[in-house]
């Protein structure tokens, strides 16, 4: 993971690897750096930090949700978060909303709100009977997602071509936006750290709940509260990275599955590995995107396209070996 980060920090269109290496050294050693090299490194490291944040958030949230929902198909987006966030972003783009809250733009804020609204809708439906049914939650999430997807299509159908382009790009999941600032990444990282920490603390109860709700209850777990806590935490952390970079695909489903094969079912090692694996996957993806654009002179591809492109076949390969 460290190696990936170093390589990623050395590659980019602004500076060649050799000068980047020198600049990187000076950047962290506090040395004097030419203004333009400093700016280039600032942009690149901000982007790298954002990639790591997204990877950690999606992979840990995916792991936790797979345990909670006891469904191998679960990923952070299954509750409609991606579609809800996409709708928020699309509306903000279409209306040309300016402003925002603190460091975050209107698109960030609306995406965050849309993502949480989607989860809340699913949650309310699934809890109608008094207790939270994970099956109802899954079904409601899929339906809420479908509903918001159709709303996105509605927005796309009525906005001018220029906004369509921006919305499409957002939906692919991209880390290249010039509006990803260190401050935004800092806020997101703090939230990811808190929620990630909470997941680690909850690793033991996650082991229990993966056995089934009834067993977990008999083993002394306060199941209802626990479900709401994990769900809220996963929703929050996923919504925050979706707001930052759009719905980057497949990280949250592939990484937990791949690592469960290696690390076994216990959640403490699994969550730790997933955090590192997710971060590495997104960082590698974003680096490759830059490499293809720079060295092969290809058009820039959003990182979300890459992760899905690699993630889906890999998932199929594990599935074939494992056989559900």
């Amino acid at each position: 993971m460290v190696a990936v980060c170093v390589v990623s920090a050395l590659i980019g269109p602004g500076l060649g690897p050799a000068r980047s290496a020198r600049a990187l050294g000076a950047f962290f050693a506090g040395g004097v750096l030419p203004a333009d090299e400093y700016a280039v490194m600032l942009v690149r490291l901000t982007r790298l930090a954002a990639a790591l944040c997204v990877g950690v958030a999606l992979a840990t949230a995916g792991t936790a949700l797979q345990a909670l929902l006891r469904n191998p198909l679960a990923d952070p987006y299954i509750l409609g978060i991606a579609a809800g966030g996409g709708f928020g972003a699309a509306v903000a783009t279409a209306l040309g909303l300016a402003g925002g809250i603190a460091a975050f733009s209107a698109v960030n804020v609306c995406a965050f709100a849309g993502a949480l609204a989607a989860v809340a809708a699913g949650f309310i439906v699934a809890r109608a009977a008094g207790i939270l049914s994970v099956h109802a939650l899954l079904l409601a999430g899929v339906m809420v997602g479908a509903f918001f997807t159709s709303l996105i299509l509605l927005v796309l159908a009525v906005v001018p071509a220029r906004d369509q382009h921006a919305v499409f790009l957002w939906l692919m999941g991209d880390l290249a936006s010039p509006d990803i600032t260190p401050l935004k990444v800092g806020f997101t990282a703090a939230l990811v750290a808190v929620c990630g920490g909470l997941f680690v603390v909850l690793a033991r109860p996650l082991d229990l709940i993966a056995l089934g709700e009834e067993s977990a209850f008999h083993l002394g777990l306060s199941v209802e509260k626990f479900k709401i806590l994990v769900l809220g935490c996963a929703a929050l952390v996923t919504a925050s990275v979706v707001a930052l970079a759009g719905p980057i695909g497949f990280v949250g489903i592939v990484v937990p599955h791949a690592l469960r094969r290696v690390m076994g079912p216990r959640h403490l090692p699994l969550l730790t590995a997933a955090a590192m694996g997710g971060a590495t996957l997104v960082a590698v993806g974003d680096t490759l995107v830059r490499v293809t654009a720079d060295y092969l002179s290809m058009p820039i591809v959003p990182v979300g396209v890459f992760t899905a492109l690699v993630g889906a076949p890999y998932f199929l390969a594990i599935l074939r070996k494992k056989g559900y």
Binding site: G12, P13, G14, L15, A35, D36, Y38, A39, V40, L42, V43, R44, T46, T93, G96, P160, A161, R162, Q164, H165, A166, L169, W170, D174, A176, S177, P178, D179, I180, T181, P182, R290, A293, S297, M298, P299, I300
Partner: protein
């Protein structure tokens, strides 16, 4: 229930087929005298010698049609065809990237004028309906002049077109002769942004790239893989433009200056971030001469005070 739906669908399809079959007497129009016209996509199209009902699916071509004096013959346009003001009152046939075939057909045009950008689908559909449609593309400023002349020929307004090209040339010439006196080393490096999300600029193969050069700038986007290309934020910083031109109206100079790392760019330090009207600069039409003049004025504007609005 499902079976019912299928049955309904087949009835619907049959009726639609019938309508299409009935609505096909294109022979009515082919009685008019035609000639072959080779458009910018290399398609040979039989066009009427004197077209009387024109649908135009591009803002820049609409401007050319009106400028050569054929505005009265335009019966339909797309959203965004807003110049000259008279074009705003014409019936709409959809968006630039989403033209409604049905609305075009309903206007019974004897010629459709489109662009070669992103309009291949509607061109193919029109071909099937036997509505003559020609596409224009301008890869440089000279291409714009070619298109003006070609529209003149199509509309039988050769003289007006020639006159238009003369005034266009005169405008460009006034700029290029001023630029000639500036040594190459003193010309500013320019970053012209056509979209903020994703960051996009122009490169070789775009008439806007050509316009930047004619206006006396050095395009930092040169060498990117496509005429209209995404660019990485850090690439903009590394190429250190001396002038930034915002050509989309979606971001203020202050918002651009606030991007991560952009404070270090010479243009930002010198307060040389300017907004330019995209309608003048990004349309391959008769007003591009004004666009080049505007760019020239921006490139050589003396930086003064804080520019952020």
């Amino acid at each position: 229930m499902v079976r019912r739906m299928y049955a309904d669908f087949f009835v619907l399809a049959a009726v639609a087929g019938l309508v299409v079959a009935c609505g096909k007497p294109a022979a009515r129009r082919t009685t008019a005298e035609t000639r072959l016209f080779r458009d910018d996509l290399g398609r040979e199209v039989a066009v009427p010698v004197a077209p009387r009902r024109i649908v135009c699916t591009s803002p820049e071509m609409t401007e050319i049609l009106f400028a050569v004096g054929a505005g009265a013959r335009v019966v339909g346009v797309v959203r965004g065809c807003d110049w000259p003001p008279a074009a705003r009152d014409l019936p709409l046939v959809g968006d630039f990237s989403n033209v409604s075939l049905e609305r075009v057909a309903a206007l019974e045009p004897d010629l459709v004028i489109a662009t070669g950008h992103e309009q291949q689908r509607i061109l193919a559909q029109l071909e099937r309906l036997r509505v003559p449609a020609v596409a224009f593309l301008a890869g440089d400023v000279a291409g714009v002049k070619r298109n003006i002349r070609a529209v003149g020929v199509l509309m039988g307004e050769e003289e007006k077109a020639a006159e238009l090209v003369r005034t266009f040339d005169a405008k460009i010439f006034a700029i290029t002769s001023a630029v000639e006196k500036v040594p190459a080393a003193e010309r500013p490096r320019v970053y012209l942004e056509i979209s903020p999300e994703p960051l996009m600029t122009v490169a070789e193969g775009s008439f806007v790239h050509d316009a930047i050069i004619l206006a006396g700038g050095i395009n930092v986007g040169a060498g990117l893989p496509r005429p209209y290309s995404r660019i990485d934020s850090e690439a903009v910083i590394a190429r250190d433009p001396e002038v930034i031109v915002i050509c989309h109206g979606a971001k203020t100079p202050a918002a651009v200056a606030a991007r991560t790392g952009w404070r270090r760019i010479t243009a930002v330090r010198d307060n040389r971030i300017y907004e330019a009207d995209p309608d003048l600069v990004l349309r391959a039409g008769p007003r591009l001469g004004e666009g080049v003049a505007l760019l020239h004025e921006i490139f050589y504007r003396k930086p003064r005070g804080v520019e952020g609005r």
